[in-house]
Every structure is written in C-alpha cells, then in structure tokens.
Point group: C2
Chain length 515, copies 2
C-alpha cells in the first residue's frame, strides 16, 4: 500500500468520506487511490474557492469534516478566502495539500512556494509529512485536530514522493470525540444573578446553540427573566422560522445595533464574542456593548455552550418555562415591482420546510431576515468570515451534506461573480440548489459604505468602480454555460411563478432577478 | 489632504498611473481619492485573481509597476495565485491592501486576518502603515522596493483610519532607477574560456535578455562559438518569430530535456537558474543539467544580464558576428480536423506583427512553440509560476499596457475556468484581446501526468476527476454572459475564418475551438 492509499484508508477509517478537490500532478497518486480504496466520494470543483467553500457548507450541516485536496501553494491560495470563512464559522475541515517531492523542493521549480506559510493564515493545525511512514499517524492527527473545539482547519502537506512510496499500514486508531470544556460554576452563577436583577438583560448567542435545542433553552431563560435574545449579524448556521424561538440578528449597520442595545444593563454571551462593528467608521463606536452594560461571558465557542445554557436554566429555575416560539404566518405572494422586499415576501411564502438558506445577498438581503422570520422552519447560513464568494460554494457543500433537503442560495450579482464555477459542480452532482441572483448590477453595498465611511458622494470614477453595468452581466448565459438551467425575471409575479416551479423541480437551477 | 489622497498623489508622482482593483469598504477613501487626484486610471476586476494577473501582464509589457488595490486579507488571498506567477516572473508590482482601522483590528471582526502573513507568501517587501503621517515615505518606499532587481511585489498595508485622517504632503522624492549589479570579470572570463574550448556548449537565457537586444548578443556568441541557445520551458516574456534569433525552449517533459542536453560539456546561464524538471517523477532525474557538464552562472536575474552578455561578446571577440535569425515562413492555412496542430498552423499563418501571445494552453499548446517559430515577430508570455488561471488576466494587463498591439490569448478550457471573470474587464475596457479556448473538455495534462508519475491508467473515479464533460462547459454562453462576443468552431476551415475575422476586428472576442 502506497502513501496515498494509506492516507485515504486512514481518512475513511476515521469517518471522513467526502473529498472536495481540484487536484494537480502532485496529487495524482491520491486521485489514483480513490479507485483502490473503498468509501471516498470525490467531488470536483473547477476552482479552489469552490472546494474550500463546499467543505465549509458540508461541515456546517454535518458537524463533521470533509477532506479537501488542493494542488501546491497556489492551489491552496485560491482556496484561502473561503477557508477564512470556514475558520470564522469554526468548522472542522481536513485540508490536504500536495507538495513537490521532498527532494525536489530545494530545486525551486516554478510552482514551488512556502505552503506552510499559506496554510497558517487559516489553519489551527499544520503539518508536513516528510516520509510515507508518517502518513498513518499524521492523517489520524489531522482528523483529530480538525475536531479541536469548536472546530478548525487542519492542514496536512503531502509531498508527492510520500504518496508514491510504500507506507506503513493505515491507522485504525478510533477518532476521539472532542472534549468541550465546561463553563465554570462562577460564571453560571454570575449570569444567573444578572438575569435575576430585573434590570435590562439580553443573551447574545453564537455557534451551535443557534439550533433548536439551544434556542429552546435560551427561550426558557428569556421567558423566565424577560431577557432579549440576540445573535451576531452573520451566523454560520441559525435555525429559525415557525415553531422555533426567535433570536434577533444584530444589524449590519453599527449605529442601529447601538440603538438596539442602548439601556442594556447585562449582556450574557454564549458561543461568541462581545459585539463589534463589521468595519470601523469615523465618529461611530466600533465596540457595540453600551457603556455601563456588564458583560457575562457564559461560555466561549470552544466551551460546551449547550451544557452551560442547561445549567443556567437550572440555576434560574426555568426548566418548566414555555419558550416563546413563532407561528407560521403566511405572507401571501407579492405583486408588482421586483425588489428585495418583494423577493423576500415571495421567499417567505414559498420556502419549503427544512430548506437550507444560504445568504450572500449583501445589501439586497438586508430586509429578508425580518420578512422570513415566520416562514417554514429553515436553516440560515451566512458568510461567517465576511469574505464574499462563499455563497454558491456553501450551497454546494450543504446540498452534498443534505441530499434530502432543498437549498436556496440568495446571491448578490457582485458576490456571485467571485466563485460562479460552483454552479458547474452543482450541475455535475445534480445538487438540489435553487440560486436567486439579486441583479442590481452594482456593488450597492459599497455605494452605501462610501457615504457612511465619510468619503461623501462618489465622484464619476468612484461610481464607475462600483458599477457592474458596463457591460451588464447576463446570469442566464453564465448559468447555462455552466450547465445550470436559468431564467430571468423582472416582476414579482414572474418571480413567484419561477421560484415556485424551481423549488418543486429537482435542482440545480437559477433565477436572475433584475432589481 | 487625507491619507488616501496623499497615497495616490505619491504614486502618480512616482510614475505609477494604472490601478487594477477590486475594492471593499476599507478602501473607499482610496476609491474616492481617484476623483480628486489627477492621473490614475482605475480598472475594475470582478475577482482579485484578475487584478493580480493583470498587474503581472502590465508589468511584463512595460517594465514598470501598476498598483493593485485589494480588500483586506481575504481579498488579497484571492489574488495570491497570480501574484505567485508575478513573483516567478520577477516583475514589479505595488500591492496596496486595505486593512481595518488601526484600533479596530484588536476587535477581531469577521473580516480580520493576518494580512502580513498572506502578503509575505509572495512579496519581497511588506510594510503596514500605522499612522497617516507615514504614508508619503512608505508609499515612495513601496515604489522603490517594487523595482528592486529583478523586480518584486511590494505590499503596502493601509489601515482605513490612515486613509481618512489628515496626512503629510505627498512625496515628491524622485524614484531612483534600480541598480543591477554587474557580473564579475571572473565569470565572464570563465564563460568565455568554456565557449572557446570547442566542446559542446550552450547558453540558457532567462528574464529580460529574451528580447531583441539580448537575443542579438546571444546570437553573436552562438555564431562565434557554435553554442546552442536555450530558454526555460515557461518564460515571462520571450520575443520570437521572423527576424529574431531563435532560442529553443526546454521541453516540459523532463525526459526530453535530458535527451536534448545529453553530451553537453558547458552550460552558460544568464538570468535564470540551472534547469530542473517541473515536477519530480519516480525514476526520472529532477536536475536536468547532464552529469559532467560544467555550469557557468554568468549573471543571475538580479544582475545586469544584458551588460554581462555584452562583455562576453567582447571577451570572445564576437562583435562583428552575424547572428542567425529566422525568416518569415508562411505555413499556409490548415484544412480538415481541428486539433492543437491545425490551430497552431492557423495561428502561425494569421498572427499579426507584434502580436502579444499569452500561452496558457497547457497540453494543447505543447506543439505551438515549434509551429509558430517562423511566424511574424511577436512576444510570447507564459505562466511563469505554473499556477493556472493566469492566462486571461495576463492578457488583460498586457492589452492595457499596449493598446496599439493585438493580444492573442491561447487558453485551455480547464485553466480558463479559474479566472474567466477577466473577460468582463476586457469588455469593459474595450481591450483588443482575442481568446482561443482549446476545448478538449478535460484536464488532459493530468491524464498524461497520471501515467508519467507512476499511477498507471486512471480508474473510473480518477478519470472522472479529470473530465470536464459532465456537464460540458459552453464557452460561447460564458463569454456572452460576460459581454464578450464569441463563436464556437469545430473544423480547421471554420477556425481559420473566425480567427482571421476576430484578429481584424477590435476585440475583445473569443473562439471556442472544439478539439
């Protein structure tokens, strides 16, 4: 058994059975091994950002790592932006990066670079194998490292000669479940005391407690103590909609968050950090917790947040509280002008149960969070690291993870252009994804930010840099070119009809909504 | 004058007047400044790899730096693969990367990352401004650093608050021409002695000597001493064709290079390194200089290679030698099957004088180098760092640099998919680029490499990972979607007719050649 086969077998033994890849020559033995070792599904992306973003989406929906296989430093470089998003989403990923043969590196061939340096920018764990004998242990260590709470990218660099030479037998060492440290009794008690004061309190939730179980616990606390429930502006995965306890996403615009949090006396934080603005602006605070508000860090992302909430429920005696949940509230289909508001109303009305919604709509989806709050229960996945180009790859990975659920990808036209190659993988794998392109033909968010950051009204050159209408992008042609059926719509009625049809058909498909 | 205006004015004062960009919120003051400071042309790319690759192409054709403006760590990350190519091409680029406000970094907002760590992977110089007062000196230093022989990427990290606060006046310090160290007399003499032995000698040329002046000098030496002239497999820029002294590109396949160099007694190297294989393969040498052959490093890339050749010409008394040059040899148009060979013949026949050819055809353009050797004189630009996805961005930057020359981009369908967004910038800027897509619907090179690297015949899964025909990419739709007129052709006759028409029309345009 050569090194590549040993690597693959160790991964499969460890429960890792999906590989997103864009390989090159140095990874050919890995690719060959896929036919010799049972149990690995390989999915090709035509650009590395598709690969890294899909692994992120897969991990968010399964809580387990996929492996990515990329080609040397530049191949990894192309995947880094979506690995950045995955890092901020705290998901486990095993990133295998091919390297030149050990003895070839010092020759400095054209594709040589410092792969470790690229990898360290996004990885919690990086190791380079130096002989095939190290592969079983290193691969098992990579799986284990990826699961380090709360989840991280573990990068294994694999020189080509280590893959083609004879290796030790694969590891059959079991993968140990990660140990999430428990919150201290003190912080639980302090939070309970704060919540019992009767003053203005709120709980800010992040990470895996933003799912039914965590929301239910938070809902009990909120009911008992009249606390408000918040979550970050962008979340890796938030379960929401009818039947679930609602949490309010802090607005993207810092001024609004400041307004909302004004008067707060205590802020209990679970699985995230104190709120900060997305960017800094002149004369606007960047730390958003009001002065005078006491912060209680109940559990950090790498701690057992669910267990901390359970203990807090006990501590304040809220076990039998009935959490507030939202009822399904049919919106009715919109008519007339097609705009973010009417699209939101249509989505809220037609959203199928347990749909996975990917939100990379940027300025266009700002109103959607409120409109869809009482739709059918669904998961809402955001671009956790703020790096645009994550949306369509996330949708791809989520659809691989959950073949029985519909994925709806809400995508800005500017952001969509970064990693549109994902559509091809969706077509290739017959993934059930419906993509809605919000075609405003501008980096609309930048026009808003230009003002907000104190640069005044954009002049003609600045305006041009934010405009995508010279030439107009034609998303129907682009999607068709990538093998995904697409339609352009220009009115709310057309959108309703098309979305209804596309959600019923097996995907992938794409709607270009001209707004 | 705020920091952004000061930065821009210092760049313009230093002769830097083209900016390739994909900005975000943290760069809005730079964008605003473009309307207030005269003299900077801003060109938008819809993906950062377009931006970095275009700056590479621009620098290769002008020998001066453009500035790139990217958004934070993830924006830079998306540009790194083509910066890798630029690094290997030894070109000057000033990479300005926006950063969060100095006081906002410690808040670790979603888009926060270690920008320096990203930048160092490809840059020869990295500096982060910490106050607006530093901008004039730091910007001038960046220009100067980019020109450090033989040219490098200088990265200036620019926190947002430094751009919006009041700054010192811009620098008017003149940019000093870089000093290329001269080769020592000893190496000149040693090389001369070697060339005079009458044994088998060759000169391996790289970098800027691969232009008319350097080729002419090398041609004199070759004529005098019966030396062969070689260059690397992939070159940043090679002037070639009728009227020029030919140099033979060492083949991509190491075995062939070994064969060609067998029996060589002396190898004089100018502006590059001893030949190594692109990848290592089991049982194939990776260092390709024959054993027993003496290597003479006449001048390294960071030395004055042209001057070294001049002195060598003097030393061997070859001033009056007549270098061999190639005559224009009309090929005639091909008929029948469309394949890399017939496309090459058509290109060789129709190539306009002084055309800039970008070669990212990978397996499909392997035969083209020989076929086009006696075409009209042209420049041939390769993917210097071997990172695919460089082709269409390079073409974009070269066309911006040379608006009076036609650019012909020979592009593999697999490689083209990495950075196809470049087509949109070509349309937006009305750049005179004709792109030929070699649509073999496969990563054909990988199928070849799979065998060569000892992994045998690809099994069904491996074969699938190298296939781009499920679904078939439709490049006519893709180009149309990006605003570039395109046609699909399937025979040599159709190709001839379409290439002739497209080369005559102002570009951009695209031919999808089904092979």
């Amino acid at each position: 058994m050569n090194g590549a086969e040993c690597l693959l077998k160790t991964l499969v033994n460890g429960g890792v059975d999906v590989c997103f890849t864009n390989p090159g020559t140095s990874e050919m033995h890995f690719v060959a091994a896929v036919d010799r070792v049972e149990g690995m599904r390989c999915i090709l992306g035509l650009f590395e950002g598709v690969v890294s973003g899909a692994a992120d989406g897969y991990a968010r929906m399964t809580d387990k790592p996929a492996v990515t296989l990329l080609h040397l430093g530049p191949g990894l470089a192309n995947g880094l932006a979506n690995f950045h998003n995955a890092r901020k989403a705290n998901v486990p990923i095993i990133s295998v990066v091919g390297e030149h043969a050990t003895y070839h590196r010092e020759c400095d061939p054209p594709l040589h670079s410092d792969i470790s340096a690229f990898a360290k920018t996004v990885s919690g764990w990086v190791e380079c194998v130096e002989s095939p004998d190290q592969i079983p242990v290193a691969t098992h260590a990579a799986i284990q490292a990826s699961l380090t709470p709360p989840g991280q990218i573990a990068t294994l660099i694999l020189p080509a000669d280590c893959t083609w030479e004879e290796s030790n037998p694969p590891s059959t060492e079991p993968v140990v479940s990660p140990v999430y440290q428990k919150a201290s009794d003190e912080v639980i008690k302090a939070a309970a005391t704060a919540l019992r004061t009767g003053k203005q309190t709120a709980i800010l939730l992040g990470g895996r407690v933003l799912r039914q179980k965590g929301l239910n616990l938070a809902g009990k606390i909120a009911a008992k103590c009249n606390a408000r429930l918040f979550c970050d502006t962008i979340n890796a995965r938030l379960e929401r909609g009818a039947g679930l306890t609602p949490v309010f996403s802090l607005p993207y615009f810092a001024e609004k968050t400041v307004e909302i949090l004004t008067g707060l006396d205590h802020l209990v934080i679970v699985g995230t950090k104190p709120p900060v603005s997305f960017f800094a602006y002149p004369d606007v605070p960047n730390r958003l917790t009001p002065s005078g508000c006491e912060t209680h860090m109940l559990a950090r992302p790498e701690q057992d947040c669910l267990e901390a909430l359970e203990r807090l429920v006990d501590e304040i005696d809220a076990t039998n509280e009935i959490p507030r949940v939202l009822d399904l509230k049919p919106m009715g289909l919109p008519t007339g002008e097609l705009n973010p508001q009417s699209i939101g109303q249509s989505v809220a009305t037609l959203l199928p149960e347990h749909c996975i919604v990917i939100d990379e709509g940027i300025s266009s989806t700002l109103p959607l969070s409120a409109i869809t709050a009482t739709a059918m229960p669904h998961d809402w996945l955001g671009i956790a690291g703020g790096s645009i180009g994550g949306g369509m790859p996330l949708a791809t990975g989520a659809a691989v993870a959950c073949p029985d659920r519909k994925v709806l990808c809400l995508e800005a036209d500017g952001s969509g252009m970064y990693t549109l190659q994902a559509l091809w993988t969706q077509a290739r794998e017959s993934l059930d994804v419906t993509t809605v392109i919000f075609a405003n033909r501008a980096y609309r968010i930048l026009a808003m930010e230009h003002q907000r950051i104190g640069a005044g009204d954009p002049g003609p050159k600045a305006h041009d840099i934010m405009s995508l209408d010279r030439p107009e992008l034609d998303w129907v042609s682009l999607a068709t070119g990538l093998g995904v059926p697409a339609r352009r719509v220009t009115s709310a009625e057309e959108f309703n009809q098309c979305l209804e049809a596309f959600l019923k058909e097996p995907g992938p498909n794409l709607i270009e909504a001209i707004i």
